[in-house]
């Protein structure tokens, strides 16, 4: 956008807005900085409280414990694999289904929409889901991370809503040119939906990256299918047990500890968040590419 002249009102607004955003950023950043500070502070010292934005007794030890005790190498690989594969599949398939739903004349439009929408509000619970996955042979199987959640209804609706804003005339003219449905989807719609697809990719990537429960329930005994978050949860769980949350600690050996759940939790949060946080700025650049749409649209 080109603005040639700014009024005084504009300048005041921009100044206030900028200040507001900075205050907001400080408020939003505080919990992160606090977590970082706790993660780099001596665990026993942290117990005293009063750690705000800077560690009082600096140490790498919390990270060292995680690094040494959790099975991070394999876990990182599996986490990356599931995140990449699931995000790519989801983005493509979600866009594909969403495309069929913006075709006003599609006979199954309502049926498909209802089937998807209802999945957001019905939940069978853990045991029936487990029995299903077990009978499909998905226990200790990489695909249990991908298949059950493929194409989420929420993402689908978001993409559909966005695609609806793409002028129908584009589809129409492609049809006149003799393009098939799949080709129209690939060459006309998919490129124009980039911003919303970046959003879906982000949602999916974050959900995949942060997921540990499926590893726990479905792949708990498969060492080569362990995920980063699961290993980190295990490290956290270890520190909790060590600080004596079990009722029958009978000797002091077991109750003694040098890491605490608080410190380990802070450290695993950082370990888990840093890689995925790097993804966002990379996706952000697709959010300003509304220009593409403007240039196509007449």
């Amino acid at each position: 956008m080109r603005i040639k002249h700014k009024s005084i009102g504009d300048r005041i607004f921009e100044l206030c807005n900028g200040l507001l955003m900075i205050i907001l950023a400080v408020v939003m950043l505080y919990p992160i900085i606090n977590t970082v500070a706790v993660s780099f502070n001596d665990a026993t010292d942290t117990l005293r409280g009063g750690i705000y934005i800077w560690p009082r007794q600096f140490t790498w030890y919390n990270y060292e414990v995680i690094w040494q005790t959790a099975n991070l190498g394999v876990a990182f690989g599996v986490s990356v694999a599931r995140t990449v594969i699931a995000s790519a599949l989801n983005v493509f398939l979600t866009a594909m289904v969403a495309y069929t739903l913006i075709r006003q004349d599609f006979v199954l439009k309502r049926f498909v929409t209802i089937i998807f929408v209802l999945t957001m509000y019905v939940n069978a619970g853990l045991i029936p889901g487990y029995l299903l996955n077990k009978s499909l042979g998905l226990l200790n199987n990489f695909w249990v991370y991908i298949l059950p959640g493929l194409v989420s209804a929420f993402d689908l609706i978001i993409v559909r809503t966005y695609m609806k804003s793409i002028p129908g005339s584009l589809i129409e003219s492609a049809q006149i040119d003799g393009a098939g449905e799949f080709k129209i989807f690939l060459t006309v719609i998919l490129p124009l939906a980039t911003p919303v697809l970046a959003t879906v990719a982000l949602f999916c990537a974050v959900a995949q990256w942060n997921s540990w429960f499926d590893t726990y329930i479905y792949c708990g005994s498969a060492k080569n299918l362990t995920t980063l978050q699961y290993e980190l949860m295990k490290a956290l769980s270890t520190s909790m047990n060590q600080s004596g949350s079990t009722a029958n600690v009978l000797n002091a050996d077991q109750a003694a500890n040098q890491v605490t759940p608080t410190s380990i939790r802070a450290a695993i949060t950082i370990v888990a968040a840093v890689p995925i946080l790097c993804v966002y700025p990379f996706l952000q650049k697709y959010f300003v590419q509304g220009m593409t749409l403007g240039s196509v649209k007449e």
Partner: protein
């Protein structure tokens, strides 16, 4: 846009259903397999809902269970505590719904007004970071901030003379819903703006230019260009979220709740956790789940219908 679709429809209007299917086989091929996948993974397990009517024991198959009829539902709805928890859940999710939407849209609009790209991206990235903290961490920070014992909020209020003695914010029922609402905003507002920012990116810049030429100021441009552009996203999200009105979450309430404020802090999910999951009673959780599903579906389709009547976008 609707007019466009109609003209495209014209030739097919009078064909039979099967003829249309044949004609649209590509579209069907593009969507039906995933529908089947959803049916498999989301609907087939729903057969497990029968357990809500049984004294379910996981060691036996669904057919070998003792039938309990409606006993699980009776257990829920005869308990004044559960009814109280429904109220709490509704109250907190309504607060979350309203606060969540207002703050996310407001933040998205303000971010959109920032001209400096680097500054804008930095703020945006920072604002969505708290999403990556677990509730345990966020609740811990909230508890420290609100503590009567050197908590920063009480400290500031005391210093500016707004209060005479520290307020035990987490011990007073009247503050709790507000605290939960504010914590949710703090944690999720940045994350929630992402969708709006994505839909704003679809705005044709020429619309702003045209508005500018008509002499529209900043406020008018927001009102007449930006907001209409995100309206359909907003409405669709609203309809979808209305269906989640019985899901107020449970972690934050579980972590921040305590004895003196139990009457306002306990949600449906906490009740189910205490009386179902922790007692290996899977049927109770299923019964509560069925109840929530039924209410959700009614609300979603209700909201969808109203939206249609008002001439707005529809979810289905």
């Amino acid at each position: 846009m609707r007019a466009v679709a109609k003209t495209a429809n014209k030739p097919g209007n009078k064909k039979s259903f099967w003829q249309k299917c044949l004609q649209q086989k590509t579209l069907i091929f593009m969507s039906l397999p995933l529908v089947l996948l959803k049916i498999l993974f989301a609907y087939v397990p729903l057969l497990g809902w029968v357990m809500a009517f049984q004294n379910y024991k996981p060691a036996k198959s669904f057919f070998d269970q003792d039938w309990a009829g409606l006993a699980k539902f009776e257990f829920l709805f005869k308990d004044a505590v559960f009814l109280r928890d429904i109220r709490n859940t509704l109250a907190m999710s309504l607060i979350n719904l309203v606060l969540g939407f207002v703050t996310a849209i407001l933040l998205a609009l303000l971010l959109n007004e920032i001209k400096n790209v680097v500054f804008k991206r930095t703020i945006q990235t920072i604002s969505y970071m708290p999403h990556f903290l677990s509730w345990v961490i966020v609740a811990g920070i909230v508890q420290n901030v609100l503590s009567t014992d050197s908590g920063i909020v009480n400290d500031i209020l005391l210093r500016i003379g707004a209060i005479d003695s520290s307020i035990n914010f987490l011990g007073e029922p009247k503050y709790f819903w507000g605290i939960v609402g504010a914590s949710n905003v703090w944690k999720e507002v940045g994350w929630n703006t992402i969708i709006y920012l994505a839909s704003m990116s679809a705005i044709d810049p020429s619309l702003y230019e045209a508005a500018e030429m008509d002499g529209a100021g900043r406020f008018n441009k927001i009102l007449h260009v930006t907001l209409p552009a995100i309206k359909s996203t907003f409405i669709i999200l609203l309809i979808m979220n209305i269906g989640n009105i019985l899901n107020a979450g449970f972690e934050v309430q579980y972590l921040l709740g305590n004895g003196p404020i139990q009457d306002v802090s306990e949600t449906i999910d906490i009740f189910v956790l205490k009386y179902g999951m922790q007692k290996n009673d899977y049927a109770l959780g299923t019964a509560a789940g069925i109840f929530k599903s039924v209410i959700s579906v009614i609300l979603v389709f209700g909201a969808n219908w109203i939206s249609g009547k008002l001439g707005e976008d529809k979810l289905v």
